[in-house]
């Protein structure tokens, strides 16, 4: 058993090293795709903490992404703050926002929580649409341009998102194995029973929410610098919030590697669709979302763990499971 453990760790390290040197040998557009995948991993795994492990399904986590993007952007543009400091600030702002928003919002569950989180994200989107002076309002905000040629810049963001993805995975790994992680899962399974067993549910829910916001905010800041121009309708968009949920559902909700698989699949899928059928790619995406929710709501991980599940009967069973 110890050998298994070491083997898994070695494999992981090998993977990290491989991904670390990969950019040197591939084209810029592939680097861009991988950078996106890493960013999606951060978003999905972060959401997994509050949505998958704790069972508090938020449909507004884009708000942390947007807050992060604007924090870094405003600091870099107006105060000429260095990029990394901007990212740190983004993490603090996102974490703090989650704490404050969590106080009222985490008292809700199910549909009400979904609507409330959605409402907060939308409210923030509108707020930023109106903050002309500070953030450019609806016209958007331009980041200062990163130095270097195309290849160097692509390396910069590849490694930034790569590091973020690793950090997020490590956070998820440690949290889910810690007592806080067990508290979160207990809350998901039966919050009242968890309470009666001694779990300070408010504390752990809030922690989960704040952790889900932390790297999401940093990713937002990095994203802004990467794409150089942000606007509220993009970075606070419900599309981002829902994409987080979909990636996690697709990969395997409440699992460690599910979000990674989901992030990877979603990026590959969107890229493929956009390049082949740009006009209707969203329609196909919508169709795929419907299929996944109907036939494989527990995602790819469940099939990976039990190959027999990759069968028509499994999918049909899932479709019938929640019907009227």
């Amino acid at each position: 058993m110890v050998k298994d453990f070491e083997k898994k760790n070695l494999l992981f390290l090998a993977l990290i090293c491989a991904l670390g040197v990969l950019p040197l040998g591939i084209g810029v557009s592939t680097i861009r795709i991988l950078t996106s995948v890493f960013m999606y991993i951060v978003l999905a795994q972060s959401w997994n903490i509050i949505g998958g492990y704790t069972g508090y399904v938020s449909f507004g986590n884009a708000l942390f992404f947007g807050l992060g993007a604007y924090t870094t952007g405003i600091l870099m543009l107006r105060l000429h703050t260095p990029f990394v400091l901007g990212l740190l600030a983004s993490s603090a702002v996102a974490f703090g926002a989650a704490f404050l928003i969590g106080i009222p919002v985490l008292r809700l569950k199910g549909h009400y929580l979904a609507v409330a989180t959605f409402g907060v994200a939308e409210a923030l989107r509108e707020v930023f649409n109106n903050l002309r002076k500070l953030s450019g309002g609806g016209e958007g905000l331009s980041f200062p341009l990163p130095a270097g040629d195309i290849r160097q810049v692509s390396y910069l963001f590849y490694y930034i998102m790569f590091i973020l993805a690793i950090l997020t995975m490590m956070m998820a790994y440690y949290v889910t194995r810690s007592s806080a992680g067990y508290a979160m899962v207990a809350i998901r399974e039966d919050e009242d029973a968890a309470n009666v067993m001694g779990i300070h549910t408010t504390k752990y829910k809030t922690l989960a929410f704040c952790l889900s916001a932390l790297f999401t905010g940093v990713a937002g800041g990095a994203y802004g610098y990467w794409v150089t121009f942000i606007e509220p309708n993009n970075v606070f968009s419900i599309n981002i919030s829902v994409m987080m949920v979909i990636m996690v559902l697709l990969g395997g909700i409440g699992t460690l590697w599910g979000p990674v698989i989901g992030a990877f699949l979603l990026e590959i899928l969107s890229d493929l669709l956009i390049s082949r059928i740009l006009e209707y790619h969203e329609a196909v995406l919508g169709f795929i979302i419907i299929l996944v929710v109907l036939a494989a709501p527990r995602g790819v991980m469940e099939i990976v763990k039990d190959r027999k599940k990759f069968s028509l009967s499994y999918f049909l069973e899932n479709i019938r499971k929640y019907q009227a």
Binding site: H111, G119, Y322
Partner: protein, 287 residues
């Protein structure tokens, strides 16, 4: 003076909002499904009315019942073959699924009809009457009346018909309803289809008064949330009152703090209500 005119305009618009919210809250209240694609159904209804009117030349008000019938059938199909399979699922799945449906519908509409705005023009578009110093365009006034009519019809349907009773029973106690011979699947199909028909009606009403485009649905979704939470699930009067109040608040905040902030006010209101009284102003457990 201008102030009161603005409020009255808001009130008239509130009628339309009420109809949209009526369908949305019906599905939420009876089936416990938050239908993210509800706004897309509004949009489909708007386009249905547009196409029926422009292709056949009949008056858009006459096209409304046809639109409702078409949307009823569309809703029934969507329910029977898609939503039916997630009725018992948790919010994470149903919200995501209906989001997927929304994506599908809107994107197909964009592809088919382009993002250009379209309008229905009627010969009597400019006609209005005065009540004292206040101006009421006939179209908007009729639409307001239709909103009331639809609410009244829905109320009678839910409280006086056998199907309505079956719908209420399904909400109150599913097992008992089943034991009493209610065909749950059929009830859900009817409920969702009615919701879609109402969305379609509202869409048609909007098409008569404003330009339409495939992306119009999303903001109506947000409004549906807010009004449903404001007015409360479980009654027909709830969305009506909620819609009127929302129309007023929207007009008021536009006037006082500019149009940019009205959405912020709306969403803040939503969150505040969810926290204080999630059952809404008139909400109750059962219809």
């Amino acid at each position: 003076m201008v102030f009161i005119q603005i409020l009255l305009d808001g009130l008239l618009l509130g009628g339309v909002y009420a109809v949209i919210a009526l369908g949305f809250s019906l599905v939420w209240g009876i089936m416990n499904i938050i239908n993210i694609s509800h706004g897309a159904f509004v949009m489909l209804g708007a386009y249905a009315t547009y196409w029926i009117t422009t292709r056949s030349g009949i008056d858009p008000f006459v096209a409304l019942p046809i639109t409702m019938a078409v949307m009823f059938m569309a809703g029934a199909l969507v329910q029977r073959y898609i939503i039916n399979y997630v009725v018992r699922a948790p919010a994470s799945m149903t919200v995501t699924l209906t989001f997927g449906i929304q994506l599908l519908i809107v994107n197909l509409a964009l592809g088919a009809w382009t993002a250009n705005f379209r309008s229905i023009t009627v010969p009597y578009a400019g006609a209005r009457f005065f009540l004292g110093p206040f101006l009421f365009p006939y179209t908007r006034f009729f639409i307001f009346l239709i909103a009331f009519l639809l609410t009244a019809v829905m109320h009678l349907f839910i409280t006086r018909t056998k199907t309505g009773a079956a719908i209420r029973a399904t909400r109150m106690d599913l097992e008992s309803a089943k034991l009493n011979g209610v065909n749950i699947r059929r009830i859900y199909i009817i409920t969702f289809a009615v919701g879609a028909a109402l969305a379609g009606a509202a869409g048609g009403m909007i098409a008569i008064t404003y330009p339409i485009s495939p992306m119009m649905g999303f903001s109506y979704l947000a409004i549906s949330f807010i009004i449903s939470v404001l007015g409360g699930l479980g009654s027909m009067a709830g969305p009506l009152i909620g819609g009127l109040i929302f129309g007023l608040i929207e007009a008021l905040s536009s006037f006082l703090i500019g149009t940019g902030y009205k959405d912020i006010v709306a969403f803040t209101l939503l969150v505040v209500i969810l926290l204080i009284r999630p059952s809404g102003i008139l909400g109750r457990e059962y219809y």
